[in-house]
């Protein structure tokens, strides 16, 4: 009874700790802190992965891989830096790896085709989003099929996660000019795809 109470108290305490403190405690083997960290960061990680890999099921798989990687690599985390940047780096890299695999690529194309054909259908998971967010997410999933993995990752981080260019460069391990280059090319491809699939967005504008 005492043990149960103590565990509950530890959990409550952990939920109020800042990210870095949780990471430091988890690094020392504190499972309660690690669980609190997973619970806190899962929505952001899965959301980011979903944007990049294209569907919820794969995003959940990537989410699990991300946190397992976090557990095994926590000793490498430098607490002087933002945990989010480190976490996003792992999530982005694993999402890109996932997307690059042949199986994932097939699924992404399948998902895109499915969405083009049956845009009005919504999955159970999507039902929880607001209608506008769900529409925007579907639109992105539809038009982003032609982006390269890096272009997609940069665009998602910049536009949807609102990361700074310097942070994206750190996440992807490249220079800021490379990030801007990817962003520029991503916009070009997306403009073309939106114009092709949804010309109503281009009222009064010629590509």
């Amino acid at each position: 009874m005492e043990l149960v109470y103590s565990q509950r108290r530890d959990r409550e305490e952990a939920t109020s700790l800042p990210d870095r403190e949780l990471a430091i405690r988890a690094r020392g083997g504190d499972m309660v802190s690690f669980e609190a960290l997973v619970t806190r960061k899962t929505p952001a990680v899965v959301s980011l992965a979903r944007r990049i890999v294209g569907n919820g099921e794969d995003a959940r798989d990537v989410g699990q891989m991300v946190f397992l990687r976090v557990w095994s690599e926590l000793h490498r985390y430098d607490e002087r830096y933002s945990l989010n940047t480190w976490l996003y780096r792992i999530a982005t890299n694993l999402s890109i790896d996932f997307l690059r695999s042949a199986r994932s690529r097939e699924r992404a194309h399948g998902a895109t085709l499915h969405l083009v054909e049956e845009r009005e259908q919504s999955t159970a998971a999507e039902a929880t989003r607001t209608a506008e967010d769900a529409e925007l997410a579907r639109l992105f999933e539809t038009v982003s099929g032609s982006l390269s993995e890096k272009q997609k990752a940069v665009f998602v981080l910049k536009e949807m996660e609102d990361c700074d260019t310097s942070e994206i460069a750190e996440i992807l391990g490249c220079g800021e000019s490379t990030v801007r280059n990817h962003l520029f090319n991503a916009r070009r491809v997306l403009r073309r795809e939106i114009g092709r699939l949804y010309p109503e967005f281009l009222r009064g504008r010629q590509l």
Binding site: T39, V46, R60, R129, R187, L190, R191, L202
Partner: protein
Amino acid sequence: MSAICGILRGSFEDYLSDALPPPQRKILREHLAACAECRDLAVEKDPTFVFARPVHDEVTPEETARILSAVKTGVALMETEKRIRRTRRRLAGGTAAAAAVAALVLLLPGARHGTGTSAAPSGTQASLPAKPPASSPLSSDAALSAAALPADSAPAGDATVYDWNPGAGQEEPRVVWIVDRGLDI
């Protein structure tokens, strides 16, 4: 259209070329999320402006719980594998240490005392009994017994213990062979 609309509309180009400083970028994004007129104008200018807002892609508590459960299982598995690897390493280390000690014992000068020869035993020869006293080959247990190397050989079940230098003290290592006839090698 408010005054701020006019100001922010002038920053569309900078936003697209990633030249807008973060605070202004944030203001523009928040404004576009709130002002339908400016958003339509921005999307007309560049359709990728439609994505210039945070997307709240909700992950349900059930999804989070499922992921947490899977991660905990994965962590437990990783930790178990780590423990198994550590145990294996310890066992391998122990075996190697035992083998090293045995080799050391056999290679040290004490082995020569046992054989009673002046020839220094080397490598595998040290583990072979009795080249010296008899010319008999070690083709059988009988031959081994016939070698009659140590006086103190005592059968123990299927095994025979040959004590080469029973009187060895601290400076002189003790050399003992155990010949187990029950072993099927």
